[in-house]
Amino acid sequence: MRTGLTLLLVLVGACSADTEPALVASDVTITQPMPGMGMSAGYLTLTNTSEETITITRVSSPQYSSVELHESVIDDGVARMRRLEKIEIPAGTNTTLAPGGKHLMLMRPTEVAADAVSLQFYDGATLLLTVTSSQLQDSR
């Protein structure tokens, strides 16, 4: 199974007046693209430390041409993958993006075997959070 390393994160604060970021990421895992495949999955836990719901509508990364919010569901014996328009995190709660559930789909790497992947989380045009993670080899 995937090695459960907790990675060192560089958190760049959310755009509130507070020095504490309202949105905090932990347990970030970016899988290495599969051989021959231009895509990775991203998993992490997002914690909303603020008093208001935080909505993520868009994620981008300089190392990938496209990042989408996705959810895998097994519904009546059928595995489905759906694109999510947004992820809402109510005040004081966290949302975990994990294998077999909500996840980030990172497509078309812009550089070969990037050592570090940076992810920007947005609500519309507002930057909520930047996370940097090393890219993990998929375990066999």
């Binding site: 599969m34 495949m37 895509m39 014996g77 789909m105």
Partner: protein, 203 residues
């Protein structure tokens, strides 16, 4: 009987009962806990698909070995790697426990338009040696999936970017080339480690 003899008799009776209970429990046939073993195995239909090298994969390919078959596609970053990792973990644990024979892991593409033999081969090789990646024409795929009750449906998308919904089950094919048992998702390695030796032993 003296009180001492009664005591000895009671101890013996209790010991006998306990022994019987243990013996009964040990000899009780172990049951699979996750797999659904089909009351009657279904022979695979005639079909012709391709492996990574472009060699024919047919019903005969499945003879004389056990196979765990999953239908998926390579442009699937979450469920498919997760399932293959689970099966690879189970296979590794069974091997470590000395289980013989070991089932081979087979991924059959439900997205043959994008999954070339080379691509599906690279994909399954990532999860271990000896895994079989299968792709081919949609018509031949349909012969197999209809016979096995496997569902798949390409979803709308932009050009090359689309997903394929597909049955989440893993099928166990027996060495006679018959659909023998079914594991429903979500898949847990421990279930395979528990159930496979029982199913194969009872075959």
């Amino acid at each position: 009987m003296s009180p001492r003899n009664i005591f000895v008799a009671v101890v013996l009776a209790v010991a006998l009962a306990a022994g019987l209970a243990v013996a009964t429990r040990l000899s009780a046939p172990a049951e699979p806990k996750a797999a659904l073993v089909l009351p009657r195995s279904n022979a695979l239909p005639e079909f012709e698909l391709l492996d990574a090298l472009g060699n024919t994969v047919s019903r005969e390919t499945f003879l004389d070995q056990w196979s765990l078959v999953f239908f998926g596609f390579t442009h699937c970053p979450d469920i498919c790697p997760l399932t293959l990792q689970t099966l690879a973990t189970a296979q590794r644990e069974l091997a470590a426990a000395g289980q013989q024979p070991l089932p081979q892991i087979v991924l059959i593409s439900v997205d043959p338009e994008r999954d070339t033999p080379q691509l599906i081969g690279q994909y399954v090789a990532h999860f271990g040696d000896g895994n079989l990646g299968v792709t081919g024409s949609l018509d031949e795929l349909k012969k197999l999936t209809s016979a096995l009750g496997i569902y798949y449906q390409k979803q709308p998308g932009d050009g090359e970017s689309y997903a394929v919904d597909h049955s989440a089950a893993v099928l166990l094919i027996n060495p006679n080339g018959e659909f023998h048992a079914l594991f429903s998702g979500p898949h847990v390695a421990a279930n395979y480690v528990h159930d496979l030796p029982i199913i194969m032993e009872n075959f």
